[in-house]
Every structure is written in structure tokens, then in C-alpha cells.
Subunit: 344 residues, 2 copies
């Protein structure tokens, strides 16, 4: 089994995606080709031994072979014609915009490339935090209360302290905790830098947080261990950044087996058929013994490899169980019958 | 102003898209290039004078120049290198899957091509009838009651008569009215042919239906006339098919100006910022003096040209007011600072 790892992308999380790719290189033993999407959305085939952060920050990657994305794959110009870059399954490791907002999912689906990652619908519903709430509520999953503000609005109704998040970003970028009104305007301005819409939620001091990753293979769920992430108030970007480079296994959270069972039940409902093809991480809060979904990471940092005992096995199995596009017959039945009726 | 019309696509509405393109050819005076997406998702540059349904049903279109979609546009191989197909704005006229499910929207956005049509989020929320309901309810727009069934389920709780619709198809394909239990199984099987999930709504006999199309240009709404569509029980595919070929203006519905004003208010809420860049048609029901959204057509048949007095002017103005992607700076700030910290 040969994988391609697609990373980079035009996103605030571009650098994080590079860090994620470097981590997976350390973790995976399978044969891998690396495909980098740069800030101009040009694709480059990166030699595995060159995968170091400096290659990208220095611009040196531009010396690598440029690839063209077309039906069936990525193609490299050769002396005679073009050559397809060989791999069985691509892992979409572009975090944030492009990767998690549905754009690359659509591009890969449209061009018929097999990939591990959320499909278009799953991307749109998990990338936008309001849509995640709507989706969750439609399947009976509880989330934290919220309000959405449009750029220019500075009045909130949620009682302090609150947490302010750009509606469409991951990795804690632009996120602030606001303890009273005096801090509000600045925090909103920071969030509005990144998005025209902002989510406001009550900030729950010392809330219990549990992360659970998993995927569905042949109709059966494969779960990671449950992790209780270590944090201060919350993960800021620098800390989260390091989080994306994790490659060693973590301790299983010491929790009641009953709670663990319930977290898995909630995960299954969320994953449903929507996230088929993806390995996702759900971050849950537990408030007064109630489980609430905090967020869905449809492409978690370094694929949450550190939460799985046999990460490589999971990825290999998942790649054999990807959702297939339903074939649509195109038969010109109506055009033919109308032409017949018209006598043409 | 030169337009490109993109039509075809891998969709049950492939043929309808061809009919739509032929209609627009009759209506628009602007210079237009036609780009056809065939059943293999190969793109062809079609000579305007050859745009006849037979060209496609016969497969003769394959003699036309093949195009490659890349960053910045569609490219045609020439004797020396490649030549970009010249146009200012592309009109996405691919109905149903590919066109309205977000795939082509994402592909066009990813490759930086200016286009009229719904963006990825708008596509996903309007293509899936359940997500449309969730979206509508989140912005205070009323819709008809509903339940969603998963493939294999044959029990409903909605009282008869009901209307059964595949969750993700347009153009009345796979839609049935079911008057009692004896007709249910067959109707569900028909719908399950097209989708693994099915929407069940009460069928409201003789409901008043009103269609309103429009778009936003420089922050101001441009509206079409309100049409009261002529129909029997509902539009079946054959009738709807003819509907896509409409190119002559229709009569304005004889309605209370107060109702018209309210339809426009609802339209504005629905369009919001989500549908910026698209000319959409909202189909409303009026039940007991209450307006309910029936569906959003983000790429209406033949662009609902027949509802506008100056359709060409609308399209030209819209093409100058397309949403721009927010630039995201990629600066390798974190990677550089981490390398510094590590002394590398």
C-alpha cells in the first residue's frame, strides 16, 4: 500500500500542515509520496528525505518537480509526455481552509482521486462552527450555548466569562477568553480579523475535556483511546502548534468506563454516514455529567496518530473502505425522446 | 464582457444542463464561450454554432478541442504550448450533482476562476434538503414539516397524503406523491434509487406556490418578477425538463403587493451573505397566509432568465460584484521562530 500525503494549502494553518506532515513521516512505515500545495496553489512532489520545515520557509521547494492535478491523479511532466505520480490512497493533511472547508475534498472527488479525509458535505458542516451546531442539534447531540455576531457588532447577550471564536477557523487562531466587558471589543476585533462572523459561547472554567478519534471501516467503528488534553486556560496557537507535531503515544484518560462508552455512542452518531472516509477527532466537554460536543476535527493534527495503538493499521484499513461515488448513468434519454417527438 | 458557460457534469440533470445552455444561447447577446463537462468529467470547448442537443447525445462533441482546467482557467493545447480560453466570468450552469453540490464551486474557487454561481457552503446547504431546513430554521425562515428516512426504512409518521423526495436531487427526479400506505413502499423504493436518504413532507393539496429569483449586486438586491408556476399536482420530470428550456418572459403573478414585499424580505434573509455571487430562485409556499420556503435553486433552470426584464443586464452587473476570496498571508512565522529557538 502506497500513500500520498497532501499538505500545505492556502490557509492560516499552512505551517501546521507542514508540521503534521513531518510528524507522519516519523510515524508511518509505509511507502509515501509527499505532495505540497503552496501559497499559489501550485503542487510540488517533495522528496521524502527533504521534508524539513526549512525547505518550505526558504522557498527551496520550488526546485522540486511541479505537478498538474487532473482526472485520475497528479501528473509530472517527463521527457516524453506526462507520468502519473503513483499511489493507492491520498491522505488529505491540509488543515484549515482548502483542506477542511471542502475545497480540496471537492477537487479530489471531482478528479476521481481516492482519499482519506472528509467529503465536501462533512467538511462544510464541521468547518463552520454554526453549521456544526445545527448538524449536532439535528441528530440530538448537545453543544454549548452560543450566539453568532456579524462583523461590526460588539454587543453580546451571553453572560461573562465568554469565549470568542472566528466562525470558520481551527487551531485556536483568533480565539480569546473574555472575562468582562472591558476586554470584549479587542477580542472581537481580533476574531473579526480572521472572519466576518464570530461565535460567542460561555467559557466554562475548568471544564472536563475529552478527545476521541476514530473512523468507520466496513461499517464497524475503530476508536482511539480517550485523551484528557493537558491545558492551561485553553490551547493557544503556539501550544497547539506543538500539538500538531505529536508523534508519541499519550496516556489514556482515567475515566469511568460508562462515560467512555457514552463518548463512543455520541461519536458514532456524529460520524454517521457523513464522515465516512475520514479519520476524525471529536472534542467533547462534560458539564454536570452531560456530554457536549465542543468541536469536530475532520483532519486532526498529525491525524491524531498518538491516540492509536496501531495507527498505521487503522489508516491502511480505512484506505480500503473509502466511500465510492454512486455511478450516475448519462444516457441522453430525454434529449433523444424529444428529438424523436420533434421529428429531428 | 465575455462569458463562459459551463454545462453538463456528472449528474442526473446532465441533459437538463444542456437544455439550459441552449436556452441561454438564445437569450444572451454577449460574447460567450461554451465549456462542456462530459460524463468522464473531461472538458471540451464547444463552438457556439454547434450547440445543439444532438452534438452531445451523439458523442460528436468529442471532436471539439479538449480543455485542461488549471490555476487561472481552462487551457487548450496549441501547436506551441497552451492557450488560455479567454473570458471574464464563467456562469456555472451545471444543474444537480457536480454543479449544485459544491464540487464545481470548489474546483472553480480553488483554481481562481471568477464565476457566477453558489459557493461551496451555499451549494452544500441548498443541495441537501435537510440542511436547507436546518439553515432556514437557524435564520427564522419557516419550512414545511418533515421527517428523514434512511434507506431500508419504510415507516413514516407524517399523515397522508405525503410527498417523498430524494434528499439530494433537484428537478423533481424520484419525487412521488403518496396518498395512502398502499403506495408508500413503491414510492420510497423509487426515491431510494437516487439517494440513501429520503425526505417525507405532508403534501399540501392546491398549495399556493410563488417563485422569486434574484441576486445581490454591490450590497443591493435585484429581484425578478414573482411567478406563480402553472402545474398539475406537481411538476414531473418531463414537464420540468421543458421548464429548463424556457426563454420567453412570463406573466407576473397577480398577488397582493404586501405579500410580494414579504416574499422579498424572506428572500433577502435566505440569500444573506451565503449566496453572494449566485443568482438563485427561491420557491415559496403560502399556507394559511404564512410564507414557507419550499426550496432554494442556487442554479435555476436557464438561470430563470424568463423572470427578468433585463436578464443580460443583471448577469453583467452580478459578474462585476462577485465575492472575492479573503487573502491569507503565508509567512512561515512559526516555523522560522521555532527554528530560531532550536538554533537551526
Amino acid at each position: 500500500m502506497k500513500f500520498a500525503i497532501l499538505f500545505g494549502g492556502v490557509s492560516y494553518e499552512h505551517e501546521i500542515s507542514i508540521v503534521s506532515a513531518i510528524s507522519l513521516k516519523k510515524v508511518l512505515k509505509s511507502e509515501i509520496v509527499y505532495i505540497f500545495c503552496d501559497k499559489d496553489r501550485d503542487f510540488y512532489l517533495i522528496n521524502s528525505k527533504d521534508i524539513k520545515s526549512k525547505l518550505f520557509s526558504s522557498g527551496e521547494y520550488k526546485k522540486s518537480p511541479k505537478l498538474t492535478l487532473k482526472r485520475g491523479g497528479f501528473f509530472q511532466k517527463g521527457l516524453v509526455g506526462e507520468k502519473r505520480v503513483e499511489f493507492d490512497t491520498l491522505i488529505n493533511l491540509v488543515h484549515g481552509a482548502d483542506g477542511e472547508d471542502g475545497k480540496l475534498a471537492a477537487v479530489l472527488s471531482f478528479f476521481g482521486i481516492d482519499y482519506i479525509g472528509p467529503r465536501v458535505d462533512a467538511s462544510v458542516l464541521s468547518f463552520n462552527k454554526l453549521y456544526t451546531k445545527l448538524y449536532a442539534s439535528s441528530i440530538g447531540i448537545d453543544t454549548v450555548d452560543y450566539e453568532v455576531l456579524q462583523k461590526g457588532a460588539y454587543k453580546i447577550t451571553t453572560p461573562y466569562p465568554v469565549i470568542i471564536k472566528p466562525l470558520r477557523l481551527g487551531s485556536s487562531i483568533g480565539v480569546s477568553i473574555v472575562r468582562d466587558e472591558s476586554e470584549l471589543e479587542y477580542a472581537l476585533d481580533v476574531a473579526y480579523e480572521f472572519d466576518d462572523e464570530v461565535l460567542v459561547e460561555p467559557f466554562i472554567e475548568g471544564v472536563k475535556e475529552y478527545n476521541l478519534a476514530g473512523c468507520k471501516v466496513d461499517g464497524e467503528f475503530i476508536f482511539s483511546i480517550v485523551e484528557e488534553p493537558q491545558k492551561g486556560d485553553f490551547l493557544d496557537f503556539d501550544k497547539k502548534y506543538l500539538d500538531f507535531s505529536r508523534d508519541s503515544r499519550v496516556q489514556k484518560a482515567q475515566i469511568d468506563p460508562f462515560l467512555e462508552e457514552n463518548l463512543k455512542k455520541e461519536f458514532k452518531k456524529i460520524y454517521g454516514t457523513l464522515f465516512e472516509g475520514a479519520l476524525i477527532r471529536c472534542d467533547f466537554f462534560v458539564v454536570d455529567n452531560e456530554i457536549k460536543l465542543n468541536e469536530i476535527n475532520p483532519i486532526p493534527g498529525s491525524m491524531a496518530n498518538y491516540l492509536f495503538e496501531d495507527f498505521e493499521g487503522v489508516i491502511q484499513n480505512l484506505s480500503k473502505s473509502l466511500p465510492k461515488e454512486k455511478p450516475i448513468p448519462i444516457e441522453y434519454r430525454y434529449i433523444n425522446s424529444i428529438q424523436k417527438a420533434k421529428g429531428k
